[in-house]
Symmetry: C2
Subunit: 394 residues, 2 copies
């Protein structure tokens, strides 16, 4: 190909997860690789009924163009629920509907990043956020992370010594990939430091509702007096991901900038999907639905932790103990490369995501991510058993 | 707001059309401003039935994540139809499903444009393409255009004398905003020049199916021996825009780059919407449906041209005579500013889009765009009558 591509194209690689997912699409594979919700919990009948009613009542307007900002009723529901759940004070017009949280991350890159600007993130961080930001030719600063979230002294050091920090990207609840949750104190301190150094915070919270033990904690946004924190949320994990309906909320003036950028990017989100979700929420008890998801994920998570404890030799692996979400994070001795382990596992039809790609700079290859939400219990038992066998041969 | 935004944000403005559309949402306004298809032609019952069947047959997989590339069956239908209609030779895997053609334009900016690179376009050109490209901090080179499309001598001059031309953006059928259609000879010559100068061509064809008189012409892509032309198409104008399902097709290696970029941008398009369209296409005769759209738009277009001829003083306005699509383009004497005319018209509850914003550099303010697809016939008559009154007072 002789056409000249943009410089950014030389930084992009195919998402490791999505490439692995292609390998693992065969039904015989026990895959802990994806971040897929349990499809058997999707409220298919309720969504079918919502779809029928929307087309009956709204008719052609469900199929026509709508505003870039998104459906007013949906934005109102989102702001009210956030205010009740996580201590924010949003109005409906501070919410922009996005095509998945992935788009909210991409739009953030467009709004904030010039070439060479720095995104500050947890080490490790969400893989697809790295891909999204890389398209804006940014650099990354990884912040040391422990069981309570980012280490604040290290964050302050980074902010103090790094020029052009523009975004601090975080997943404070049941983080992807580690499953870890930030303490309240760290959330408060993050809001203070972001205000002091005037850096935007993206508080990405796809899993916050999926807490199956311990107490719900206030959001970083609830401590934000300077208007520098933006909240990302999604229906992907509490309803279904196929509709691609998510949101970003924040300071009104900032959200206006996002609307401007979304106009040029894809005009608007699917009209019908937005109306269907509003109709679903009117007619169904989403609390009860989310409670069922939590119950299932709790069982699967506990089972996976039990199996990992039994099957992985104690001197060979440590792993996190999430209180919610979709993921467990495993660390091996420094000389074992999780990619080699994956190759062995794939021979046994078991898959996971090697951890290296979750570190934008440091690439710790002795780590991997296990998803527990998507596999039924008997497959979790069998899959971790095979993983243990593979690991012991190394 | 003290946060530092990306430099690109200083180039972006709210889309003039979408701002005008907000003003014209009141039902008493006769709006020729939008580019909306006629909602009374949306096949609501058929789409309702398709939705029901998809959830009945595919169940949870209709609500789950799917591939970035899009649904295989949909990509196959698109490639076959293009090959039959416009002389291309695409395979299904050369097609990427996008969230509207707007996203295909945005992704093209991401794939091809570094800061300062040049997008070559018709003068005037599609407003929202200008917004999309501007986010990549590019420059524009406008090419002189007549009733047969871009003037090839002027295009060659631009390509010869301009550094870093990366994209030639065109709408060869019933162009937005002018309604003009390129001759076959110019299409062929464009493919030759693009190959010679190694510049990618975006052949954006949202309206090609909506030809209500004259012969269908071969696509620019059908003359492309060098693999430099990309084809953009959409279901927005032949089915409905609210689903946000469109596509880009091209050289396989190039499309792989687009897939990579779309992964980071929004992962994938709405799963359910893709399945619904496939189901709709299986169960319904889209040819008959498109024939009904053509028939309606033809009537509305002819009526609008007749009214413009009667109501606009001959020495005050010239206008194009489209053979398809959605738009007529009006040119006034150089000393009349269409923005002033719009203000007068808005007092009479009539709206259109002033033409200046369709020129990325030259801004000819004595022009405006009229949409004929979205208004019923009695409102076209009354709206153009009021337009004539307003114009005569100037």
């Amino acid at each position: 190909m002789a056409l000249t591509l943009a410089t950014r194209m030389s930084h992009l690689e195919a998402s490791e997860i999505r490439e692995i997912l292609k390998l693992t699409a065969r039904p015989e594979v026990i895959s802990f690789a994806g971040g897929l919700p349990a499809p058997e919990l999707f409220p298919i009948e309720e969504i079918k009924e919502a779809g029928r009613l929307v087309l009956e009542e709204a008719g052609a307007s469900a199929l026509q163009y709508t505003t870039t900002e998104g459906l007013a009723a949906l934005r109102a529901w989102i702001s009210e629920r956030m205010n009740r759940r996580v201590g924010t004070h949003y109005t409906a017009d501070q919410v922009l509907i996005t095509s998945g949280s992935q788009q909210a991350i991409d739009l953030s890159g467009k709004v904030f990043l010039d070439e060479g600007d720095v995104v500050v993130c947890e080490s490790p961080t969400y893989l697809a956020a790295i891909s999204a930001f890389k398209a804006y030719a940014c650099a990354f600063a990884e912040v040391e992370t422990d069981d309570d979230g980012m280490v604040m002294e290290d964050l302050e050091r980074v902010l103090k010594t790094t020029k052009n920090c523009r975004i601090i990207y975080t997943v404070p609840n049941f983080q992807n990939p580690t499953g870890r949750t930030w303490s309240t104190e760290r959330r408060k301190r993050l809001a203070e430091l972001a205000a002091e150094y005037q850096v935007a915070v993206l508080e990405d919270d796809p899993y916050g509702e999926l807490r199956f033990e311990g107490d719900f904690l206030p959001s970083v946004k609830s401590f934000d007096e300077a208007g520098v924190v933006l909240s990302l949320g999604t229906f992907s994990k509490i309803l279904c991901p196929g509709m691609r309906i998510a949101w970003i909320a924040g300071d009104a003036e900032l959200i206006r900038q996002y609307v401007l950028v979304k106009q040029g990017t894809d005009l608007q989100c699917n009209t019908m999907a937005q109306m269907e979700i509003v109709k679903y929420l009117e007619r169904n008890d989403i609390e009860a639905h989310i409670a069922r998801i939590r119950e299932t994920y709790k069982r699967r998570c506990h089972l996976m932790l039990k199996c990992l404890g039994e099957e992985l030799p104690g001197n060979m692996a440590t792993f996190t103990r999430p209180q919610g979400g979709l993921f467990v994070w495993v660390e091996l001795p420094p000389d074992i490369n999780a990619r080699d382990l994956l190759l062995k596992c794939l021979e046994q039809n078991v898959a996971f995501v090697p951890g290296g790609a979750f570190f934008p700079n440091s690439r710790k290859e002795n780590t991997f991510r296990m998803n527990f939400s998507n596999m039924p219990e008997e497959r979790i038992i069998e899959g971790v058993r095979r993983l243990g066998v593979a690991l012991r041969t190394m």
